[in-house]
Assembly symmetry: C2
Homo-oligomer: 279 residues x 2
């Protein structure tokens, strides 16, 4: 039985791509009325260019029941049009015992996501219910891409040998200790390359999901160089708005394809320069 | 225009109750097949005994679309059967900028909750999008009722005058500074009475949602004494499993009423003993 990390490696290998496209349909920006149709078009236009798709649950929930039905159709379409792809349910859920287990049921069994993002604020016992199925992946939100991420995640806390360390690094160490099943990864924002580099140093073999390039201003070269493992793999570099809203006109599919293709190629050029390109 | 905190005070006054009932339908424990019917019965049996109901989104999401339709019906039924009640959407959402705004749209505009629980891990800028509508309340998850809450929330960080303080207290201070609009509260678990007391000391006028009595083992007397404000108000004391699953048989409605009534009366007796009973 392959672990989640194995599946992620295979998904990248299949398309020679570390790129993930975030599917965050905002009714105010959609060039068509139907979010499911929009996603279907974006996925069909980019399926050979990406290793993962990442619907953010917030945008579907904001549309009510029709939004949730659009999410259902989107997951189905990705399975058909991009069967190699990992589907990340970006839900950032976090709650205690029976509630955490219920959220895991929702995300893995009801929606059928391959992996999720999880919020660790409640402590490691709130992460445990997500880890029981080793075929499903869990990305712990370790260091955000937003300015406010520093408020809590960067605070100095006592660490190994009573030396002070930032909280996100303490969390990275705890995650590394818990990661032997091949189904645990971390989320670290592209806007914080130093933090990304520090986390990769502590967690050499963990998948890292890296949001924040594109609209949020994270640097792509830094993200790739600091985020990949020693083989140039296991980084999931996400772009949402800069790909899916590359055009607001009727050419949105080809514009998204062009934006994704350029990003994939830029990432691959950085890997080549590191001597870690695809064989 | 009344603030959320005003509405919460009025809801408690209407029933002389600080009790909140958590509506967490678990298919394995329901005495009837339909979660909406179960909730409808529980709400009708307890409407005059509680100031708030708290559906936890996890349990509805775990049932897929039928679960979400049950949640929709539950909110409607509470509006009809308990129009004085506050409805708390226990979603513990937390995400950055446009995602946080989309979650706020979902919880307040789509589902119609009066208030929500929010996860502050991403920093205060992830809480801001929830605070724009002052009629809607936001309970920041400050200190959990679970054992693992200590992993992150209790860590010592530098505070006022470089003195060390636990992270949950730092968060309470930040929240107090931001609370002038009357729509911000905190969640502190009943299983941590010292933490509850410390938070109340820092935030004398903020609503505090207190989960963890009943099935989780929190002490009711401590929760009331440490949790209320100087007037004996603004604590929302939640019981879920110990009320809604008081009986697994066909008498579940009367058993839930009995359990809720006993809790409401115990809380009121504690307030009386403090000289802070209802007039």
């Amino acid at each position: 039985m392959s672990t989640f990390t194995d599946r992620l490696r295979a998904a990248s290998e299949a398309t020679h791509s570390l790129l993930c496209v975030g599917l965050d349909p905002d009714p105010a920006r959609l060039p068509v009325r139907d979010a499911a149709e929009f996603n279907r078009t974006i996925v069909s236009a980019t399926a050979d260019l990406v290793s993962a798709y990442k619907p953010n649950l917030a945008f579907y929930e904001a549309m009510g029941m029709p939004g949730l039905r659009a999410l259902e159709k989107t997951v189905q379409h990705i399975r058909n049009a991009a069967p190699h792809s990992i589907i990340i349910g970006d839900c950032k859920r976090g709650d205690i015992d029976s509630s955490a287990a219920a959220y895991a049921t929702a995300m893995f069994d009801v929606w059928g996501f391959d992996c999720v993002t999880v919020n660790p604020w409640g402590g490691m016992d709130t992460v445990e219910p997500w880890l029981t199925n080793t075929e499903k992946g869990v990305f712990i939100w370790c260091r955000g891409s937003n300015r406010g991420a520093a408020d809590i995640q960067d605070l100095a806390v006592s660490g190994v040998g009573n030396l002070e360390q930032p909280l996100y690094l303490r969390l990275a160490r705890r995650s590394q200790q818990r990661a032997s099943q091949g189904n645990l990864g971390l989320v670290v924002g592209a806007t914080a390359p130093q933090q990304l580099s520090d986390v990769r140093g502590i967690c050499p073999d963990l998948p890292i999901l890296i949001p924040g390039i594109g609209a949020q201003g994270g640097n792509l070269t830094d993200s790739v160089r600091c985020g990949v493992d020693t083989n140039g793999r296991l980084a999931v570099i996400n772009a949402s708005r800069s790909v899916i809203y590359a055009s607001s006109g009727s050419d949105y599919a080809s514009a998204a394809r062009h934006a994704a293709s350029r990003l994939r190629d830029e990432i691959d050029a950085i890997l080549d320069a590191m001597g870690l390109g695809w064989k």
